[in-house]
Amino acid sequence: MTHTSDKSSAYSQGITIFVYLAVLTALEFFVAVTIGFVQIMVAVAVVKAALVMYYYMHIYKLNNDNEGEENSYEYKTGTNRLGLWLFLLSDSFVFGALLVVRFNLLGMTRPPLSQTLGLIVTAVLLISSFFMNRAEVAIENGDRKGFKTNIIITLVMGIGFLLGVVGVEWPNAIAEGVWASKNTYGAVFFMMTGMHAFHVLTGIIFLLIVLRNGSRGLYDEKHYPVEAVAVYWHFVDLVWIFFYPALYLIGVLSS
């Protein structure tokens, strides 16, 4: 597949990637419940992350846009893009360190969590990334209405994810005996989901901002803000690609 800017092919590319991601997630889940082979799950997560980074976050754009005059919008957008990626690099150290904490403290065991819920929230976040991609494609092609619809769907799914984790999963975990002050299972679970949920929350705030400004036509010409929010939103998804197996799939269930 090549990178494409044409609207309908961009849409269909988004769908293809989404199907890949969904199938890979299902495969991951299947591996977890059958042979439980950790290496495969890690490999699947890495492949998913690579797909998201390339086709949804368009990391290759870091190579473009180096032309143009130093004060031109194109050149500055290139600089902004670099800045955002540097920030994400920095942020990924937090999440990486949380994974280190998780495997250091819990090793190859995992907390007793609801598998159904885990799969549902994962699916919701994944689907929201799909619609975020559509919103970005829409605004890049001057389709303000399509942008608005898609970003509202993304927003609803993002809020759904947040409510699912904080409002359903947390009480559910507590009922299962996984609470923050009881043992390291609780501590790790709440720290990881909490830190991630905080990033989802900030993402939702950014989505609201671009929704408002975008509907007023501010991004019809200069749509980098939408791209930035999309990249950030996909990053939040990317983190969950690793957190989901780390929390729900890898390791033996603790008693």
């Binding site: 600089t79 690099l89 150290f93 360190a97 250091n104 403290l105 400004n213």
Partner: protein
């Protein structure tokens, strides 16, 4: 009468007046909670600190800029504190405690306060406008002129660089003052004035010693981070030929976020203090007084400054270079800045996270580092040192860059092995990520980790050795001139050599088991930090001062500064290492008189005062020369660097004409060679 007063005097008057008001207020508030008057307690001291500090800036500058930020911070802290107190009251928990607020109240309040500062000072004004869909002008207008622009948000990298530098000098003075206090106590064995009977800020003498010793560490570290950022901010865009940093607003944000962080660190002193040392290892840090939390928050918020500052430098270097400035024609300081920024951009997150985890362990009982709940205290040390070891390279790499930058100027010779030096900075930074566990040889980590970490640590000596080799080769047969900046460069090389040579013994497991936690370590790292940061920092200040002000600092005072500080410093660290080898433990308030260390300690204290005196001379020289220094508007160092090819002080938008790089940067003494050429503007 108030209106016609000198602003500084007015500020000091306000400081005293409102400090007293704050003291009385704090005394009263404290009385309401504990029903007794605690004259040397925490709450009156805290109110004195916050109100006095804010009032000083109010008197100096009025209700705008930094004053507004501080007022918002105080109000935010109180509102946040009362908010949690209210929730606790509803939940039936105690709403107020020994330090007026309870610990959760203080933590939440302090965090809200820090955020409020950012909004109050106006560092996020433009972003808020963008979020609301309002465009802001591309070219930033200065709202203030003269000295006033340093007390409010400015987007000019030169102003921000000076703001960083002056804040760093202020924090160095505070951290140095703490050192003098506990050094005085250590001058003799047994307790003299930090006794068990004394009581200040809710701490007795030895506790206060622990707090001051710990804060000396962290305040100095923050001041170094700010000092490094100051030099990089001021100089890097000039070296690159850029008009500003890549993200001017983020740059301002990075600086201003460090101010509430410093306030939080100072708050930890009065809110019961903490006794862990700057490393804050749990389990001790999990049960130290509430000051511990202020310390965690302060470092956490200061970390944002470092992370975002590093991000900005990387983006600036990658995107804003002048025409023709290929990678291997960049000034060496730019290479060093890149190496530093890569570390601060990434690794800083881990100290933030490790401190956050202890904060949450204290607040919510999450047992990350609590063995009783299945936690692992050694994990903290891994997370902590993963940043805190590379952090020392954040401190020294820009300094080593300054040394490499200035040596050819004053030796009038090309820099020896330019590419090797450039690569050695990156090499140190990358190897630096692989050595952290050498701090943990005695911590009870897995034994099989010891030898690999020993070897990776010894590996650092190779790129560092490359630098020394290049410096010596650059000096060899050079026409060496020794104005003050060069003195500090040479001093820095010698001191850093001493620090470098004492490093490998610490890295060697068998020796480290003996040396760990002794004064030998204290001597070693003061050597590396003085050689790698303090000396080059002073060199950079003497060197670029004329660029910023159009005047130069007094040479005689500069030489006195150098010749007072250097011998005193050698005596200090060599003395520390000597008693360390003999078994003097670090971080303790007292020692056994039969060990025979009294004379040494007295000498160390005297040397400490001499260094303080020399820095005082520097500070006088620095501020006095701004208006009274000898005029120096030309290329006084006879440098090839672009910033010296235009008159000082630097114009607001840097170069009127852009320049193009046409040659090698350090070809000093080669006839006809040229580094930059200014491009004539097309009419």
């Amino acid at each position: 009468m108030m209106k016609n007063m000198n602003p500084v005097w007015r500020g000091l008057l306000f400081l005293v007046l409102f400090g007293l008001v704050g003291y009385a207020l704090g005394l009263g508030v404290d009385f309401l909670v504990v029903r007794s008057l605690r004259f040397s307690g925490s709450v009156p001291s805290l109110f004195t600190l916050l109100l006095g500090f804010t009032a000083f800036f109010f008197g100096l500058f009025g209700y705008r800029g930094i004053t507004r930020g501080l007022v918002w911070q105080v109000v935010g802290t109180l509102l946040g504190g009362f908010f949690v107190a209210g929730i606790r009251a509803i939940m039936g928990l105690s709403a107020f405690g020994d330090f007026f607020f309870t610990e959760p109240s203080w933590v939440f309040g302090a965090f809200v306060g820090a955020i409020s500062f950012i909004f109050g000072v106006g560092a996020v004004d433009d972003w808020v406008k963008w979020a609301r869909g309002i465009d802001t002008p591309e070219e930033h207008e200065e709202h203030y002129h003269g000295w006033e622009k340093y007390f409010a948000v400015s987007l000019d990298h030169k102003v921000i660089g000076i703001q960083y530098t002056v804040t760093a000098l202020l924090l160095i003075s505070i951290g140095g003052l703490f050192a003098l206090i506990f050094r005085t106590e250590l001058a003799q064995s047994s307790l003299q004035f930090l006794t068990l009977d004394m009581k200040l800020f809710g701490q007795n003498g030895p506790q206060l010693y622990n707090t001051l010793m710990s804060l000396h560490g962290m305040i100095m570290i923050v001041s170094i981070l700010l000092g490094v950022a100051g030099i990089m901010n001021y100089v890097v865009p000039l070296l690159l030929g850029a008009q500003d940093m890549a993200f001017p607003r983020l740059n301002a944000f990075s600086f201003w976020v460090a101010v509430p962080a410093s306030v939080l660190l100072l708050m930890s002193l009065v809110l019961g203090g903490f006794d862990t040392g700057w490393t804050a290892y749990p389990p001790l840090s999990a049960r130290a007084p509430v000051g511990m939390q202020m310390f965690f928050l302060g470092v956490f918020v200061a970390g944002w400054s470092s992370i975002l500052g590093g991000l900005n430098i990387v983006a600036t270097v990658l995107r804003m270079r002048a025409k023709g400035m290929t990678a291997f024609r960049m000034p060496i300081l730019v290479w060093a800045s890149i190496a530093t920024s890569i570390i601060s951009l990434t690794a800083t997150q881990l100290i933030g996270l490790s401190f956050q985890l202890v904060m949450f362990q204290r607040l919510f009982g999450m047992g990350f580092f609590d063995p009783a709940k299945g936690g692992n205290p050694v994990l903290f040390q891994h997370l902590f040192w993963f940043y805190s070891h590379p952090a020392v390279y954040v401190f020294v790499l820009p300094g080593l860059g300054v040394i490499s930058e200035l040596l050819p100027v004053f030796s009038r010779k090309p820099l020896f092995g330019y590419k090797w030096i450039a690569m050695s900075s990156l090499g140190i930074a990358l190897v630096g990520f692989l050595v952290w566990a050498h701090h943990m040889f005695t911590s009870g980590m897995n034994e099989y980790l010891r030898v690999p970490f020993m070897y990776s640590t010894l590996l650092v000596a190779i790129p560092t050795g490359v630098k020394f080799f290049s410096w010596v080769a650059t000096l060899w047969k050079g026409k060496i001139e020794t104005p003050t900046p060069m003195l500090f460069v040479l001093g820095g090389i010698v001191v850093f050599l001493l620090g470098g040579l004492t490093g490998p013994p610490n890295a060697t497991v068998s020796v480290d088991l003996h040396l760990h936690d002794t004064y030998f370590i204290v001597g070693h790292f003061h050597d590396t930090i003085f050689g790698g940061f303090v000396f080059p920092f002073f060199a950079a200040l003497y060197y670029w001062f004329p660029k910023a002000t159009g005047r130069r600092m007094n040479e005689t005072l500069g030489k006195i500064h150098f010749w007072l500080m250097t011998p005193a410093f050698f005596a200090l660290t060599l003395g520390m290492m000597r008693i360390g080898l003999l078994g003097m433990r670090r971080r303790i308030v007292d020692y056994d008189p039969t060990m025979g260390f009294d004379t040494y300690h007295l000498m160390l204290t005297v040397m400490g005062y001499l260094i303080a005196l020399s820095v005082l001379i520097f500070i006088y020289n620095f501020f006095n020369s701004i208006n009274n220094g000898e005029k120096a508007e030309g290329n006084i160092w006879n440098s090839r660097s672009p910033e010296w090819q235009v008159p000082s002080p630097m114009p607001t938008h840097n170069y009127d004409q852009p320049f193009e790089v046409v040659g090698e940067p350090y070809d000093y003494g080669l006839a006809g060679s040229k580094y930059v050429q200014f491009i004539e503007k097309k009419k």
